[in-house]
């Protein structure tokens, strides 16, 4: 087989979002160059005047909650709780629609699809999930504000931005975590208040387990507890807690009165810094630990090479990550340079999201289709920004290729074929999507289809289009 032509198909499908017609031809014989060129320049930002900052959205939600408190204090509205939850959902839902539509539009048209894929990878690594209504209106701005600016930067900055973002703080409950010896807790104790203050270890544990060291990264329960105390006070402006309302509404704020005073011991190192600097120091150290390099390298290799990635490939990526102190473009270049990435074609089963985007990109679906496409993600089992847990979406074939999932994908392909197949030439599209990766069986099957609709269904159902 023609090696450079096959490399183009691999670049577009494994590293990109699927080929748009003409993309493989533009790549020519320099698939690696096509990928590395995308690393130049700042990371793309989403366009759209409708896109609002998280602080803007969140301050509006906080205003609704303040109305509830006032109503409750006045004793006038017994259903105020339910009403405010509904109002917040009403506020958040259109925001979610705008954000996901903008994200899909970008995916369908971008000429830097590799950067978009990397963005998705990191959003999934620092996962928040909109099945918790508190982040329904914030997941999109989280990706735009915390992930995109650092996708072509340094891992440490990515970690710091994610940890400080209101979406992450809310998703893992840190905004109300209070040091047991903090000023706030002491004050409450003096007043013999009924309210007991203390830590919530959710965010601290998931940063260690899922975002930096990995579950086998060598930390203990004591490290989790200490780290949770370190990040007490990392909160959100105007979130009301014991009448604390400092900070800019909806933005990250450090609240000294909630912070556990004193030094903490984490992974054998003593952290004696004051205030928020203590947490920043811990996060910086975590990002630099060999366990983190290994954990990130494994996830990247699993995502771009194979479900069980070759150990030498992982080791190489980990070394580059560590030696460059988490410089992400260096790691991406190392990834592109790995021969393993180009050896095993079609080792990965596309996730539903990858499948949908590659279909619509290949068909050059008009941008106003993005709104309708959003529901396809839920239908095929991967509602956008809803992985359901802080671990993010899973990344092995067995997680996605269940019989019911495969059947739904085929049914979705058929629905699309019925709808637009008559106006498409699938036989002409097939080589533009799959290039040298197209099998003879697919070529024949598409060519001999009974109708335009059926031809498109068959192309979308082809084994080499289900995988990447």
């Amino acid at each position: 087989m023609d090696e450079p032509a096959l490399a183009a198909a691999i670049a577009a499908n494994r590293f990109g979002l699927g080929a748009r017609p003409g993309e493989l031809a533009r790549m020519g014989s320099d698939a690696r160059g096509w990928l590395t060129a995308q690393l130049n320049g700042g990371a793309p930002r989403l366009q759209g005047s409708e896109l609002r900052s998280s602080a803007d959205i969140l301050s509006q939600a906080l205003e609704l909650r303040r109305e509830r408190r006032d109503a409750r204090a006045g004793g006038s509205a017994p259903n105020a709780d339910a009403a405010v939850v509904m109002k917040i959902a009403q506020l958040y839902r259109p925001v979610y629609v705008d954000e996901t539509s903008a994200r899909i539009r970008e995916a369908l048209t971008t000429d830097r699809p590799f950067i978009e894929r990397l963005t998705y990878f990191w959003t999934n690594h620092f996962a928040v999930s909109v099945d918790k209504v508190a982040v329904l209106g914030l997941a999109g701005s989280f990706e735009r504000e915390a992930i995109r600016p650092h996708v072509l930067g340094n891992f440490t900055d990515l970690l710091l931005a994610s940890t400080r973002h209101p979406a992450m703080l809310l998703y893992l409950d840190n905004q109300v975590s209070v040091g047991p010896n903090s000023l706030l807790a002491q004050r409450a104790a003096r007043r013999a208040s009924e309210r007991r203050f203390g830590i919530n270890e959710n965010l601290a544990r998931e940063i260690l387990e899922l975002q930096t060291l990995g579950v086998a990264g060598g930390y203990t329960q004591a490290d989790v507890t200490s780290f949770a105390q370190v990040i007490t006070g990392w909160s959100i402006g105007a979130e009301n807690l014991g009448h604390l309302t400092s900070g800019v509404p909806g933005q990250f704020v450090f609240r000294p009165e909630m912070h556990e005073p004193g030094a903490q011991l984490i992974l054998g190192k003593r952290y004696a810094q004051d205030g928020a600097e203590q947490g920043v120091a811990v996060l910086r150290d975590l990002a630099q630990r060999p366990a983190a390099a290994n954990f990130i390298a494994t996830k990247l290799a699993r995502h771009f090479i194979a479900d069980e990635p070759p150990p030498q490939a992982v080791a190489h990526l980990a070394r580059v990550f560590h030696d460059s102190s988490g410089d992400l473009p260096s790691v991406y270049r190392a990834l592109i340079g790995l021969k393993e990435c180009w050896a095993q074609a079609l080792a990965k089963f596309k996730t539903p999201g990858e499948y949908i985007i590659s279909s619509l990109r290949g068909l050059q679906i008009p941008q106003n289709y993005a709104d309708k496409a959003r529901t396809s993600f839920a239908l095929l089992g991967q509602r956008i920004y809803a992985p359901g847990s802080p671990a993010g979406w899973p990344d092995r074939s067995a997680d996605w290729d269940g019989s019911s999932a495969v059947m739904k994908r085929i049914e979705w392909a058929d629905a699309l074929g019925q709808k637009i197949g008559a106006h498409q030439d699938a036989a002409q599209l097939a080589p533009q999507w799959l290039g040298a990766g197209m099998s003879a069986a697919t070529h024949t099957s598409v060519a001999r289809a009974a109708s335009g609709a059926q031809a498109l269904t068959l192309l979308l159902s082809a084994p080499e289009f289900m995988r990447r």
Partner: protein
Amino acid sequence: MRAIKRREFLTGAALATGSALFTSRIAFAGSATRPRFVFVILRGALDGLTAVPPYADPNYARLRGEVAIAAPGASGGALRLDGLFGLHPSLAFLSECFTAEELVVFHAMASPYRERSHFDGQDVLENGCARAHAVQTGWINRALAALPPEPSARRGELGIALGQNVPLVMRGPAPVASWSPSHLAALDEDTLQRIADLYSTDPVLSQRLADALSTESAADTSASEAMLGAGEENSPAQLLARRNEPKARGGAPYKEIIHATASFLKSADGPRVAVFDAMGWDTHANEGGALGQLAARLAGLDAGLRTLKEDLGPVWRDTVVMIATEFGRTAAVNGTRGTDHGTAAAAFLVGGAVHGGRVIADWPGLSDHALYQGRDLAPTMNMHAALKGVLADHLAVPTRALDTAVFPDSAGVKPLQGLVRA
């Protein structure tokens, strides 16, 4: 009628491809005594001390403060099980099952896992081993593989996962199906045939397609049986008819899964073992007590189980449902009126075939020195003992397989006897 056409297609496809894609089957009339087993995974770590409050433990109210469930008889109090334990007041159906001696409640139970990661905890809950990621298959699948072939089961598929994909507990050498409600139209036979041809050299996709069609056909079969029969309310055909109804967030899809589980288990030549998930138990903040977040989740679970019993009708008699979670939560409430990741938890065994009306627990107590690592309910019972007992007595999985293949190196873990009615 689409159901019939699809079944014709299956036969036609077997002839046309001449492959092992679709093997013929023998339709067995009524096999009402076949045992059924359902495993419900509560992902996220259920708080056993709220679901099954040890209301009479002297330390319980102290540790739980304002969210402690009160003793039976008090307002919002527990539903009495015995002198120590009660059920959360949301669990009305389970309480009725207890009275009918169809519910066993386990407490202070844990899998072999002793750390506090959800994801490793769930891995151990599903892989049946002593540690996470030890194998890539699940204990239910390996138990199915150890059963003698059953001619009445369609294509030998004894297990079904309700969901688009198959969870680890159901993955492995035995063929299993997965099913989830479809909101898309079915393909015409010719297109389907061409796709089957296109997949003929792809072992994974051809197997998936065959499984999907077989499952779909099973759903169609029980639907047409239902139409000919007593006019049951929850056949897959009616499920499909309801597919465009508005769905409450998180509520209705769960109900659809329950209805489908019952439909599949009732089918004479359908699967005997079903698995599904219920999400949303990770109550780190504002967990609530008699009312609140967790109470609402428990009420949803309880209502789903009641629906399962109603849908199963006479088959409930042959059914055992195990409801388990990856680990428990901290004994004390945390600083945000919730609970963090813990160790031992409660689990439930319910069904018409369960020898119930009992709480099985070697209660370690909740005093400071009794807590595991000073913070969690201590584990005193190995979940594998209960599972081995159920698999041996209910599904007749051979002891040797249970000790080696199903729960590797577990000969030292004796099965709990007498969980199932003789």
